[in-house]
């Protein structure tokens, strides 16, 4: 008891003597030997990349609203608006449902074709809605800082989806593969970017002798079908709860 008391007194007296010297100059002066000189990692029994994660997804739901842009769609309107809801079964997996409604009308390219060659592509069937069951494999959790006081946590994931793309006259089964990135600007809110490649049967909008105003209006069934690949970029806002 006395020994410990003595130790404490010595330490405290030392504190009083030393503290003024230690903080005499308040400048950022990091001694070279304290700065990182190695790019290697410390050794632990069970090394993990991160502890005390800011963003915990396991066992939580996530909803998002997004705008979709069909990057390789030549004729139909390239925009769609969608909703998604996901359940995170672990820190590495999430399952979700995506529903998107396509905007009506045609792409600007189709409008140009109409103006120059009087081709009325609104006679061709166009996509109306998309519904997919989506699996996300969350591969990399990270963080980035762009200002002195702001840190974004990031999540890079792969996605695989199955579902259907509904055209105005018919529904086609579809699959999609993609990559996504989320930027969490709070512990709940994130910007979400998804790049997906969709594959499904779809009507070919080019039908000779049926697209000009003077030509007879074709039935939707007149359009041939083929496997169509569409690259889609979704940009959205996600809420984790």
């Amino acid at each position: 008891m006395l020994k410990n008391g003595f130790k404490a007194v010595v330490v405290i007296v030392l504190a009083l003597l030393l503290h003024k010297a230690a903080f005499a100059a308040e400048v950022v002066d990091l001694p070279p030997e304290e700065l990182a000189q190695e790019s290697v990692l410390p050794v632990f029994d069970k090394p993990v990349s991160v502890k005390n994660r800011n963003i915990i997804t396991d066992g939580r739901f996530e909803t998002d609203v997004f705008y979709g842009y069909a990057m390789t769609e030549p004729i139909a309107n390239v925009s769609k608006i969608g909703l998604g809801i996901y359940y995170n079964t672990s820190e590495s997996s999430a399952w979700g449902l995506l529903l998107a409604k396509n905007s009506s009308g045609l792409s600007s390219y189709a409008d140009q074709l109409n103006q120059q060659f009087s081709l009325q592509f609104d006679r061709a069937p166009s996509p109306d809605m998309t519904g997919m069951i989506d699996y996300n494999l969350k591969a990399f959790y990270g963080k980035m800082s762009i200002t002195k006081s702001v840190v974004f946590n990031t999540l890079l994931y792969g996605s695989a989806s199955v579902g259907a793309v509904k055209y105005v006259h018919k529904t086609y089964p579809a699959v999609a593969l993609g990559l996504g990135q989320k930027f969490y600007f709070t512990k709940n809110w994130a910007f979400r970017f998804d790049l997906r490649l969709y594959a499904h049967q779809a009507p070919v909008p080019f039908l000779a002798g049926r697209l000009k105003p003077a030509e007879p209006v074709p039935n939707y069934s007149d359009f041939q079908e083929r496997l169509t690949l569409t690259t889609n970029l979704d940009v959205g806002l996600s809420y984790l709860f």
Binding site: A8, F23, P31, E38, V43, F44, P47, N153
Partner: protein, 527 residues
């Protein structure tokens, strides 16, 4: 090895013949009337010697298992009592070939006990080598205690000097220990361990200047080794400790910072460096280290002292709120630890129960699985890291490996030698576990005492905190309080980026690549 076996076999044919002739002569002199029954006895001995010859030929031909079985059987024959030391010695060498070191060690111990003029000395050499590879202190001490260094072959003298040095070090005879370690020659595989232990003995003898020289010598000798070479890193941390003991704080800090991050010794280095920083009045630097040491990566580390040290640094810079948090963390973390150690010690007496706990913790440490522990994992992990426990666990592991080797060979397992080996391994394993249990108990008792002392110190520190806080409030009321601005408050982020540093505001998340790179940028709050 084969050459040695050939020599032994040649010797074995000469020795039994000589001893047999001598015995016959003695027999004639002492009991002339026994000449009649000599014929059947000679015949039996001739048969046995023939069997011995066959066994030795098998050994020469590399049929170690068959040779060992035959020799084991012959070693039990009363007719070959005179040849027993030799048979057992060769049996031991066969068992070494079969990687059955513990069973071999027992053969050599039996030979040493016979005090045979030739084979006892040879058995001591072999026993030393076997015990060294097993890491078994008991056998090693037994062998070493019977060593006459002058009779020992030169190639084994280094090992004996090293082991004797270890014994002296354990007995706190530091001068003699350093002298013995100093005798280990440069080419020996024990050289660097001996050099490290020499420095350690010099530090224990309070001769830091000598220790600095020893560790520098070791560092120079390992200069060309990889940066994470165990001996090189051990020398580096040894040097840092010696400089600390010499109270050369700045040099010590520099030496600690040279310990590579990707080595297991780095964790000790960063904690010890914090002490040196405190002594050098580099409080900001010490607090930077504490950010690492008290990160989530260290939740399994038993470091109660580091929390108190951090609270003392906060006291130095009048950060009473931070101090309160750290003291509360100390009590929250180590209060239950103290209680559970106390309860366990009160309710547990069996050494096997102590061993069972560390065995479960060892399982948890080496696999991803969990176990139902009666003691906190941080306590058991700390105990597992203690040198004596670590060494004994390694020995038990060696015994298990030997047992697996026996059990994997069904024919050998069924043989009398296999059964004998299993019995030996079972007994040694049980005794080693009891010994570990006792070590664990001793460590737990020490930890209980240490925690009691630290709790007392925490009480004193809390008292100082309350006093300091009271003074601070008085100053605040008098309008003398200083602001809470941080050191880097006005420094733009570009400052860090331009200087090549990564800069992230800390938000409570710990990343493996950031551990060791934290820098405290707060400032003191004293007037």
């Amino acid at each position: 090895m084969k050459k040695l076996l050939l020599l032994l076999i040649v010797a074995s044919f000469v020795m039994p013949a000589a001893s047999s002739a001598q015995r016959k002569a003695n027999s004639k002199q002492l009991t002339p009337r026994r000449t009649a029954p000599v014929i059947p006895s000679n015949s039996r001995e001739a048969t046995l010697r023939n069997q011995l010859g066959n066994a030795l030929r098998m050994a020469q031909g590399g049929q170690y298992e068959s040779a060992a079985n035959a020799l084991f059987s012959l070693s039990r024959r009363t007719e070959l009592a005179d040849e027993r030391p030799q048979i057992k010695y060769i049996l031991g060498t066969m068992l070494i070939e079969l990687k059955m070191y513990q069973t071999a060690a027992f053969q050599f111990v039996d030979v040493i006990r016979t005090k045979h003029p030739k084979y006892s000395k040879m058995a001591i050499e072999k026993l030393s080598v076997v015990a060294d590879s097993l890491g078994d202190d008991t056998i090693l001490n037994y062998a070493i205690s019977r060593v006459d260094l002058n009779d020992f072959p030169a190639n084994l003298k280094d090992m004996i000097h090293f082991r004797l040095g270890e014994i002296k070090l354990r007995n706190r005879e530091f001068g003699q220990a350093a002298e013995l370690f100093g005798r280990v020659s440069y080419g020996s595989s024990y050289y660097f361990q001996a050099l490290y232990n020499k420095g350690l003995a010099e530090l224990e003898a309070n001769q830091p200047a000598l220790a600095i020289g020893t560790f520098n010598k070791m560092l120079d000798a390992r200069r060309k080794a990889p940066v994470t070479d165990t001996n090189r890193v051990a020398a580096q941390i040894g040097l840092a400790r010696a400089l600390y003991q010499k109270q050369d704080w700045e040099a010590s800090i520099e030496a600690y910072s040279q310990v590579p991050r990707d080595t297991i010794m780095w964790h000790d280095a960063i904690f010890e460096q914090s002490w040196a920083m405190l002594r050098a009045a580099r409080f900001r630097s010490a607090l930077s280290n504490f950010q690492t040491l008290h990160s989530a990566y260290y939740e399994d580390f038993y470091m109660p002292e580091s929390l108190l040290l951090r609270s003392i640094v906060y006291l130095y810079i009048c950060k009473y709120d931070e101090m309160e948090k750290v003291l509360s963390l100390f009590e929250k973390t180590y209060g239950p630890v103290r209680t559970r150690i106390g309860d366990f010690l009160k309710t547990t007496t069996e050494a096997s129960a102590f061993y069972a706990e560390v065995e479960k913790a060892h399982f948890m440490k080496t696999t991803d699985k969990s176990a139902n522990l009666r003691l906190p994992y941080i306590v058991l992990r700390h105990v597992l890291d203690q040198g004596d426990v670590k060494r004994s666990m390694h020995y038990i592991e060696k015994l298990n490996q030997e047992r697996s080797r026996v059990e994997a060979n069904s024919s050998f397992r069924a043989s009398p030698l296999g059964q004998y080996a299993l019995k030996i391994l079972s007994n040694r394993g049980r005794n080693a576990k009891f010994a570990v249990g006792d070590m664990v108990k001793a460590h737990l008792l020490n930890m209980r005492v240490e925690l009691r002392d630290l709790y007392e110190q925490a009480g004193f520190i809390r008292y100082e905190m309350i006093t300091g806080r009271k003074e601070s409030i008085k100053k605040k009321i008098a309008g003398k309080d200083i602001g809470t601005e941080q050191i880097d408050e006005k420094v733009d982020r570009q400052f860090y980026i331009q200087n090549g540093y990564e800069y992230y505001p800390f938000k409570g998340e710990y990343w493996l690549d950031e551990v060791g790179n934290y820098h405290y940028l707060g400032k003191q709050s004293c007037e």
